[in-house]
C-alpha cells in the first residue's frame, strides 16, 4: 500500500500551559474557491463535538475548540485547549475522534495538499467525497502520521494564555458539581441545620447560608 512522505518540518506541537491546560493555536490556508465548503465542514466538525459522548471527550481531554475563517475566507484559525499536554495526546485524539472527522475539513486547507493528492491517487477523486467510506478511512488511517505532522507544522505556541479554571480538571469540576448537588439535597432536608452542628462538618455549615 502506498505511503506518502509528508515533507513538513519535524517539530513538536507544544503550546504553552496555564495550570493543567495546554493550548493549541494553528493557522491554515484555505484552498482557493473552497471557503464555503470549509465553512460547512467546520459546522459538521462542531456538531460532532457537541454530540460527542462525554466519556469519549474525557478520553481526549478537550476543553474547547474554536475555528475562525478570516482574511476574506482565505485563512482559518483553529484554537483548542486540552487538559493535558496537547502534543503527546494528538495520536490519541485522532484515533478517538476519528481521522475522517479531521479529513472532512482538512481536505479544504492548503497544508493538506500533499495528503489529499495522495488520497486521490490511491483511490481516485471519488474517495474524498465520502469521508465515511471504508476505503477513505483505510487510506487516511495508513497515513495518520501525516495528519499529525500537518497540524504540528502550522501550530504556533501562544505568546500569552490565561484560563480562569486552569487549576481544575474536568473530573474535578464534575465531582464538585456532584458534591454541590448532594449538598443542596442535604440543605433541603428539614434536619440539615441540626445535622451540620457536628464540629467535623463546620466547613459545610459555613457554606450553607447561601
Amino acid at each position: 500500500m502506498q505511503t506518502t512522505t509528508v515533507t513538513l518540518s519535524k517539530k513538536s506541537g507544544k503550546g504553552i500551559t496555564d495550570g493543567v491546560i495546554s493550548e493549541l493555536t494553528a493557522f491554515f490556508g484555505v484552498k482557493p474557491g473552497c471557503t464555503e465548503q470549509l465553512r460547512q465542514a467546520i459546522t459538521r466538525f462542531d456538531d460532532m463535538l457537541h454530540n460527542l459522548d462525554p466519556k469519549a471527550n474525557e478520553k481526549i481531554g478537550l476543553r474547547d475548540s474554536r475555528m475562525v475563517l478570516f482574511d476574506n475566507g482565505t485563512r482559518m484559525l483553529w484554537t483548542t485547549t486540552f487538559e493535558t499536554d496537547w502534543d503527546p495526546y494528538l495520536d490519541d485524539a485522532l484515533l478517538i475522534v476519528g481521522v475522517q472527522h479531521f479529513m472532512d475539513w482538512m481536505k479544504y486547507v492548503t497544508e493538506a495538499e500533499t495528503l489529499t493528492s495522495w488520497v486521490v491517487s490511491a483511490g481516485g477523486a471519488d474517495i474524498l467525497s465520502d469521508t465515511n467510506s471504508p476505503e477513505f478511512l483505510e487510506v487516511v488511517q495508513k497515513n495518520s502520521s501525516g495528519l499529525k505532522a500537518i497540524i504540528q507544522s502550522v501550530q504556533i505556541p501562544a505568546t500569552g494564555y490565561w484560563n480562569a479554571l486552569a487549576a481544575t480538571t474536568i473530573p474535578e469540576i464534575r465531582k464538585a458539581q456532584r458534591v454541590e448537588t448532594a449538598f443542596q439535597q442535604v440543605l433541603d432536608n428539614p434536619e440539615a441545620a441540626e445535622a451540620l452542628q457536628h464540629p467535623a462538618l463546620q466547613p459545610l455549615l459555613e457554606e450553607a447560608a447561601d
Partner: protein, 441 residues
C-alpha cells in the same frame, strides 16, 4: 484448548530477547560495551550473530540479545542518512531527554551511575537463563564475542536475578501482565484484551494508529527491529515499609495500604478481582491473575485510579488517552540482595529493578507513560498526584484511596524509586545486524 493463529511476524528475523518473555525464576546480566574502532565493532557483530537466537525458537528460556545506542551506531560508522532516519528522542538518548522524563534532582543524569548516560555506551548485551548453570553458559557465549577483541571494551556489567521470594524488591510478584501481539503466536496474559498490532512493537508493520512506525533507512536496518529502553531503578524498600508502618493502624492495614499503592497484593492477585484480601491461588494462576478489566470499578473502590498498576495500564478505565497507543512490553528484572522481612532500616545495599521496555515508539509508549501517567495525575483528574510507588514524589506527595464511607488520603509520600541511569537502545533484527556488520564505511 484455544488454537492460536499461526505467526505472521517474521519470527526468524526478530531477536528472541525482543519477543520471548523472560523465564521465571531467572538469572541474567547486562553488559555495556564501548566500541573504540569501527572495524572492531563490526567484528563484534559478526561474532554476535551466531550467538544470538531468533524468536522462532519455541519454548526458549535462555537467550542473549544485542542492542545499540545512537552513539554506538555512530561508532560503527553507520552512514549519516541512516543515522538521521532514527527518531529524535533515540538520537538524544535518555540523558538528553531528562526534562521530558522528569529526571531531575536525585534522578538527574548528573547523579547517574557511570557510565550510564555517557556517550561511551555503545552496545548493550542482555543475557538471561532459568538457572545458574545455563546462565554461565550464555555468559561464556557472550564473553567470547568481545573478551579478546581489541577495540571493544566492557565498561559496565549489572547482574540480575529473581529474589528467593520470587518477588520484586518491594515484595510483590512482578512480570505478570504482557500484551498479546498480532502475528506473534504468543498469547497475552489478559483474554479481555485484543491483541495489539505488531507495529506497536516492531518496525515494518502497521501499528494501532493504522500507520507504520517511522521506517529507518535502509529498510533492512529497521524491519523487525525494535527499541529497548533500560533504566536502573534503585528501590528504597526500607523507606516504603516505614511509610506504611507509620500510617497503618496495624499489620493487616499495612498490607492493605501496600496493595492499594501497587494495585495488586504481594501474591500478584489483582485488587480488581480480590478487593478485600490477598488470594495466593489467584496470584499464582497465570490464566486468571491478569484476566480483568476496570469497567465495574468506575470509582476506584476496588483498585484506586492512582495505583501503580492501574496507571501503567488503565485498560478500559475512562482516562485521558487511548490505552492501546501506550502499551509496553516490559522485561523488568531485580538486582541486589533482598532486604530481610521486617527490617525497616536501610542497610545501604544497592537493590532495585532493571526496568526494560520493548516497543516501536519510544516517545508514544515509554516516554508518554513515564511523563503523563507516572509523573502526573491530570489524566485521571488528579493533577496533584503522581504514581505512589515509582513516581518522583518529593515528600509532599498525595495518594487518594477511594473507600466507603470516607475516602482515605495518604500524604507526605516520599520517592521510593530513584533512577540511577539508563539508555535508549535499538535492537536490530538479525538481518540488520548482518547489514551493520558488513558496513564498509
Amino acid at each position: 484448548m484455544t488454537t492460536l493463529p499461526s505467526p505472521t511476524l517474521e519470527l526468524n528475523h526478530i531477536q528472541a530477547g525482543a519477543l520471548r518473555p523472560r523465564p521465571s525464576p531467572y538469572v541474567g546480566a547486562y553488559f555495556l560495551l564501548r566500541i573504540d574502532n569501527r572495524q572492531a565493532g563490526r567484528e563484534l557483530l559478526r561474532r554476535l550473530i551466531p550467538a544470538l537466537t531468533s524468536a522462532a525458537e519455541p519454548e526458549l528460556q535462555t537467550w542473549l540479545a544485542a542492542s545499540l545506542t545512537f552513539q554506538g551506531l555512530k561508532a560503527l560508522g553507520v552512514p549519516q542518512t541512516s543515522l538521521n532516519s532514527f527518531p529524535p528522542e533515540f538520537q538524544q538518548g535518555m540523558a538528553g531527554r531528562a526534562a521530558e522524563l522528569g529526571d531531575t534532582g536525585e534522578n538527574a543524569p548528573d547523579h547517574w551511575e557511570q557510565p550510564l548516560g555517557s556517550p561511551d555506551v555503545h552496545v548493550v548485551l542482555a543475557a538471561v537463563a532459568p538457572d545458574g548453570a545455563q546462565f554461565e553458559t550464555v555468559v561464556a557465549r557472550a564473553r567470547r564475542t568481545f573478551s579478546d577483541l581489541p577495540g571493544v571494551t566492557l565498561i559496565w556489567r549489572q547482574d540480575v536475578a529473581s529474589l528467593p521470594t520470587k518477588r520484586d524488591p518491594f515484595g510483590f510478584k512482578d512480570g505478570i501482565g504482557q500484551p498479546a501481539i498480532e502475528g506473534s503466536g504468543i498469547p497475552g496474559s489478559n483474554p479481555h484484551e485484543a491483541p495489539l498490532k505488531a507495529g506497536e512493537f516492531f518496525l515494518g508493520y502497521r501499528d494501532e494508529t493504522g500507520d507504520m512506525p517511522a521506517m529507518l533507512q535502509p529498510e533492512v536496518l529497521g524491519r523487525n527491529g525494535t527499541y529497548l529502553v533500560i533504566r536502573k531503578l534503585h528501590t528504597r524498600v526500607a523507606a516504603f515499609r516505614q511509610y506504611l508502618r507509620d500510617r497503618a493502624a496495624n499489620p493487616a492495614d499495612e498490607e492493605i495500604l501496600a496493595a492499594k499503592i501497587v494495585g495488586r497484593w504481594p501474591s500478584g492477585a489483582p485488587l480488581a478481582l480480590a478487593p478485600e484480601q490477598d488470594n495466593s491461588e489467584l496470584g499464582a494462576d497465570p490464566r486468571r491473575n491478569n484476566a480483568f478489566l476496570y469497567a465495574d470499578d468506575p470509582r476506584g473502590l476496588k483498585c484506586p485510579f492512582g495505583s501503580h498498576v492501574r496507571r501503567m495500564h488503565p485498560r478500559d478505565s475512562v482516562i485521558v488517552g487511548e490505552v492501546r497507543l501506550h502499551r509496553m512490553l516490559r522485561r523488568g528484572t531485580s538486582y541486589g540482595p533482598p532486604l530481610p522481612e521486617g527490617v525497616l532500616e536501610d542497610d545501604g545495599a544497592d537493590r532495585g529493578i532493571m526496568f526494560a521496555f520493548i516497543g516501536a515508539h519510544i516517545a508514544r509508549q515509554f516516554e508518554f507513560v513515564q511523563a503523563q501517567w507516572v509523573n502526573d495525575g491530570k489524566f485521571i483528574g488528579a493533577p496533584a498526584e503522581k504514581d505512589p510507588l515509582i513516581g518522583p514524589n518529593d515528600g509532599n506527595g498525595q495518594f487518594t484511596i477511594p473507600q466507603q464511607p470516607i475516602r482515605r488520603r495518604m500524604q507526605g509520600l516520599p520517592p521510593f524509586v530513584i533512577n540511577r541511569g539508563g539508555e535508549y537502545c535499538f535492537m536490530p533484527s538479525l538481518p540488520a545486524l548482518r547489514w551493520l556488520a558488513d558496513l564498509t564505511t
